[in-house]
Amino acid sequence: MAVLTESRKASLRRELEALVGAGAVLADPDELLVYESDGLTLLRALADFVVFPTSAEQVSAVVRLANREGLPFVARGAGTGLSGGCLPAQGGIVLSLMRMNRVLEVDYDNQLAVVEPGLVNLHLSWRVGPRGYYYAPDPSSQQACTLGGNIANNSGGPHTLKYGVTTNHVLGLEVVLPDGEIAWLGGRTRARAGYDLVGVFVGSEGTFGIATKIVVRILKKPQAVKTVLAVFDAIDQASAAVSAIIARGLVPAAVEMIDQLTIQAVEDAFGCGYPRDAAAALLVELDGLAVGMEAQAERIVRACRDSGAREVRTARDEAERQLLWKGRKSAFGAYGRVSPAYMVMDGVIPRTRLPYVLRRVNEIVAAHGLRVGNVFHAGDGNLHPNILYDPRRPGEEARVVAAGAAIMRLCAEVGGSISGEHGIGLEKADFMPFIFSAADLALMQRLKHAFNPTGLCNPGKIFPTSKSCAEVGPVAYRPHAIEAKGLAQRF
């Protein structure tokens, strides 16, 4: 990439200000620092400019300018991503969409909403809640993360077990394509002729263009909800209970597992009512019709007891239910009580392999001299081992990275995936060969080329940096290409 001279930079800044307004361009290094990382603070990269467009036309104009200058560009939402996906890996322009945060339309009869990409996920449910509707995908960061970011990452959340992930809820997108053209993919109706461009755009991690309007389905709130807490003295029992629930023909709205280390951190921080001495707890939520809810809850209780649960109880009221969920959703924050830093891992395995994989995860982390807390979407096999560490201790970070790679290798070995909801971004690009062949990756590159032929739109993401994929080892940490060039650093 070309380094901009100061005079070139100054003239580009004036041009950008003419496009989006004087108060909507950052170019001073101090200001740019705010945008140098996302939720994965291990990786950082500095942009040349951060701009705050307020319309699709402004986004398009900035993208066209970037194309003219050969400058890379990348969209950014709330910056809560966990794989470095929105980092300006090769410099250039960051388009923050946080000023495009309106709900443009809610059509309750047709159960859809049209929103801008900077809208915070939870704010959509707040908006439609009074009429009895909600937006189903609920990432744990939903109080901060934006719909545009959710589109890029195909975000999930606890309740995706029953309701699916972001892609199952998106009907249409107005996008600014990487060459600056504004186009609609899909629309308000269910399907249209041609390739499912919405389907491939969602989860493309910002490499296919920038969504500027989003049409999503909104769902009727269920008539009734029931939340069950099952407490286990052995983590294997909790894992077995997950399969037992599925085997009894039930698809709960959510099945979350929380291990002992996490329970203790949560109880220290918030006191949510989880027993501190439990090896693991399952939080199971049923929703749907009021009729039959008791009978289904009874099946859950029996499945947990048959798997060895020492205690199974149902939240008595909404307050207790909220408290249990607070424990689950605040778990990441609670790790701050027990460790100065942690690295969130994200992997997926077949549900039936949970007992084996959890044992191996704990062994792997212990072998690297570290501790791990597990809090994750057990119902769909989406693991989140959180490796605790202290960045001030020399060498500890490298061990975290090595343990993380070994866990990803493990997920691949049992037929799983290296990401369930956080994306590949910069973090896992070199792990892609764990699950995809050279031919698989080549086809993905061709698809990328169809949308993004110049490669200027969010470069450096998803695809492995090394040509010789076989060299990627699970243990040795290797600097990412952008680190090697001094454009990013781990800390």
């Binding site: 995706t160 499912d196 077949p350 096999g381 995936s417 698989d440």
Partner: protein
């Protein structure tokens, strides 16, 4: 067709699995006889066949059960039929994971029977389940009434193995239910009509079979009232698995009863008590809106719902499918029928009302109508759908009509991206060339 190419096919799949000449009768589409039909028995053989076809730049028509073979723009060259019926194994089914991996040539009915033995099912109910293969269902994005609750193939396909037009074997997605590693390739192949690759294996999300299921029908004197009832149902606490709106002719053809206006057919599944309660609630909900004779239909009615419009005017002169907003369904049906009548045609209408998918079949007495007036009526239908922000596909029509009315809507600016995808993935343009949207 060059003898050398045929000999090549024979050496890959065995002489018994290459048909030519008069044996090709079952694979004649719209009067076009293919150059050959080739039936590989393994993924490796599919790779071999496509590599040879690519080298010879011979068009290839992937073929499952042939139920959607006539959908699409007529091909300029007939090409080689690549039939997948020999590849029909259930490769993996782990009930505890609620996933299965199958070969593309398995029929939907065959797959469901195998899964039922373990208390599970694939929540997809396309028409012609006895003939339709999973690969074909994915390629045509076929679905049925239960899509109302369970979605379509795009919501169920989690992994796919395809052979590209250059003979490369590629996997997308994976075998786990949640996966965001890399681009979502399974989505790309759903509904792509075999123009990007030949699906040889698929991994699917499954569901446990519900304890109980019941199909209810309610008759209305006026279609409009049935539409209002569908709207009330959608806004209620009920969780139907199907919401079908059929005009009188389609309802009669499906065995859903007789009504001067329309019949609303609603499915429920779940625990016994949930199904019973919802059936009662439905009757209570629709009564003030003019719904009469709420009654249960026999389970055999299910597969007759999606093809009901077509069955009502058999043989149809043409079939058109619309996708509109759910609240526009009844109006679309009424307007469309009126427009057809004004031109002297009869039509029958049936809709997956909750998701806005409407199917209309048109006919004339005495049949068949001349292509000119029929084309004009179909063009008017399409304009009607577009005016409301919807889409139309000419699902079936004689060649003379297809010559005058495009099969597919113009995809607009997105069409440029679609063309680029096609060029990237099938650079020699051998997979179903010319059949799909935007000239693809």
């Amino acid at each position: 067709m060059q003898d050398a190419l045929l000999d090549g096919f024979r050496s890959v799949v065995g002489p018994a699995n290459v048909l030519t000449g008069v044996a090709l009768g079952p694979w004649v589409v719209e009067g076009r006889t293919p150059d050959a039909a080739v039936f590989p028995g393994s993924t490796e053989e599919v790779v071999g066949v496509l590599a040879l076809a690519a080298e010879a730049e011979a068009p290839v028509v992937p073929w499952g059960g042939g139920t959607a073979a006539a959908v699409g723009a007529p091909a300029a060259r007939a090409g080689v039929v690549l039939g997948l019926h020999r590849m029909s194994r259930l490769l993996e089914h782990e009930p505890g994971d609620l996933t299965a991996t199958v070969e593309a040539g398995v029929t939907v009915a065959g797959l469901q029977a195998a899964l039922a033995g373990r208390g599970q099912w694939l929540s997809l109910d396309p028409p012609d389940a006895e003939r339709a293969t999973l690969g074909g269902v994915l390629a045509a994005d076929a679905s049925g009434p239960r899509r109302h609750l369970y979605g379509t193939a795009r919501d169920l396909l989690i992994g796919v193995t395809v052979v590209t037009g250059e003979g490369a074997l590629v996997r997308g997605g994976g075998k786990v239910v949640k996966n965001v590693a890399g681009y979502d390739l399974p989505k790309l192949f759903v509904g792509s009509y075999g123009t990007l690759g030949v699906v040889v294996e698929a991994t699917l999300k499954l569901r446990p079979r519900p304890d109980a299921e019941r199909l209810m029908a309610v008759s209305f004197d006026r279609l409009k009232d049935a539409g209002a009832a569908a709207r009330a149902l959608m806004g209620s606490d009920l969780v139907p698995n199907a919401v079908e709106l059929l005009d009188g002719a389609a309802a009669a053809a499906a065995g859903a009863g007789r009504a001067p206006g329309a019949v609303l057919v609603v499915g429920f599944d779940g625990l016994d008590e949930q199904v019973a309660w919802q059936c009662d609630e439905l009757a209570r909900l629709v009564a003030p809106l003019g719904g009469r004779q709420a009654r249960a239909l026999p389970p055999e009615t299910w597969p007759r719902l999606a093809p009901a419009a077509r069955a009502a005017v058999e043989p149809p002169a043409a079939v058109m499918t619309f996708v509109v907003l759910p609240m526009q369904v009844a109006e679309t049906m009424e307007q469309g029928a009126t427009a057809a009548r004004a031109r002297g045609f009869v039509s029958a209408w049936a809709a997956h009302a909750g998701v806005g998918v409407v199917r209309a079949a048109v006919a004339a007495e005495p049949a068949p109508p001349p292509p000119g007036p029929l084309a004009a009526a179909l063009a008017e239908w399409r304009e009607m759908a577009h005016a409301g922000g919807g889409q139309a596909t000419l699902e079936w029509a004689p060649l003379a009509v297809k010559a005058q009315v495009p099969v597919w809507d113009d995809p607009g600016a997105a069409g440029r991206i679609m063309q680029r995808i096609k060029r990237e993935l099938d650079p020699r343009n051998i997979l179903n060339p010319g059949r799909f949207v935007a000239g693809i």
